[in-house]
């Protein structure tokens, strides 16, 4: 299991393996939906080197604005 480089959740899953065996794997974080490939530069894959301006705090996620807002159901 990998740590999400963006929100540092430990719940990430492997969603794909390269068709050519052993080249790379793709991981998905179900908390912040970040997706990355094992072969990407360290500035993407390493939680400590991930660009701080783009880090996500999981506690902020439920407060994100809904775009578009969900309309009232009509009777």
């Amino acid at each position: 299991m990998k740590t999400c480089p963006r929100c540092e959740s430990k719940k990430t899953e492997t969603v794909s393996q390269s068709p050519v065996k052993g080249a790379w794997e793709v991981y998905l974080c179900p908390v912040c939906m970040f997706t990355w490939r094992s072969s990407e530069p360290e500035s993407i894959t390493n939680p400590e080197k991930y660009n701080k301006a783009f880090k996500v705090d999981p506690q902020d996620i439920p407060h994100a604005a809904k775009v578009p807002p969900v309309p009232e159901k009509r009777a």
Partner: protein, 473 residues
Amino acid sequence: MAYRDFRDFLKTLENEGQLLNINEEVMPEPDLGSAARAISNLGDKTPALLFNRINGYHNARIAMNVIGSWPNHALMMGLPKNTPLKEQFFEFAKRYGQFPVPVQREETAPFQEVEITDDINLFDILPLFRLNQSDGGFYIDKAVVVSCDVEDPDHFGKQNVGIYRLQVKGKDRLGIQPVPQHDIAIHLRQAEERGENLKVAIALGNEPVITTVAATPLLYDQSEYEMAGAIQGEPYKIVKAKDTDLDLPWGAEVVLEGEIIAGEREFEGPFGEFTGHYSGGRSMPIIKINRVCHRKNPIFEYLYLGMPWTEIDYMMGLNTCVPLYQQLKEAFPNEIVAVNAMYTHGLLAIISTKSRYGGFAKAVGMRALTTPHGLGYCKMVIVVDEDVDPFNLPQVMWALSTKMHAKHDAVIIPDLSVLPLDPGSEPAGITHKMILDATTPTAPETRGHYSQPLDSPLETEKWEKILKVMLNK
């Protein structure tokens, strides 16, 4: 002259020297995004890129920058590749006027060759990759998304074909960004008010005319397929989706069918946008994919977008100018000369017009703000005289620098609507807008010293022709 499909257009680009095959192996990241950014940095006549060997894949091929230059845009319309920009504008406007051209319906399509309904995994089916460094995931960014009006499902014109950013967020899940000013937001609202999912069909790898039209701000009840017929000069070929009554481009490489889940929103982005800034960190709707169809060995297509100019600016340049031009002409048929709204999808627009009397140019600017596209864009409108070519920016700068008086000619209208992606809007979606009147004052407005405009020496036009011939020898 119509292109049969995506491959047919790629073949034409290759024959015209407007396609570069990249046969060396490249990494999905950072090579694909980097190369596509780089090609846009190299001018406005660049070729499309076709990547034939991508690390980790057996035979995936990815095309980028397909409409990313003026020669490729001209070829999209079947014109000679060296057709000047202003000529492309007037030709596009002429064909736009042929709308509607009825569609040609087909029973079967090449994309029906391979069909997947069980254990769909988009990460395995599509060669996905990160485009810009801080994108929150892998995006499909040049597919057309088809949906229909829920209240009036049989109205062909109200069926919408649009391009929306799609984040791949699970094996069979996409995030979609329906900007409120765009038509799919109307369909989604109708469906959610009923508590129903909105059916969608998504086509990837299309010939370039439907892509161009899908990125054109048409009126709500105008059919993109009937406009594509007008632009290509013959009926556009469509075929029905399997799970719905939605119509798809016949030549698509890959088709995804699914539905936007009513009432659901999920964290999305960020994604580097055409504004040259990232946007994201909001919760957006989710599409569940139920069926995937594709050709054998499909060719995939993506576009690079970032700080202008990039492919997206060519893709939504002239096709943004023309609807504004037509709608302004409806109001002022004898005055409007040309419209250049190519900057950041028309956030800035330049209008060339005759002035009937003092104050007229400002009225033209106000009208631009109230066109359908102006409601979400046209944050700055520059109005110039009829003899200033709005596509010739040095001429526009000349008009601004000599015809404008800030006291009289800068008009600011507070708190108007704009698309929320505008990074300057505050709150997102609200901004002041500005009209800069750079036309010559006309009576009864008599200020300034404009009575002695400089005219060219008598034989200038003749000499222009002579010299052009000599230079081309």
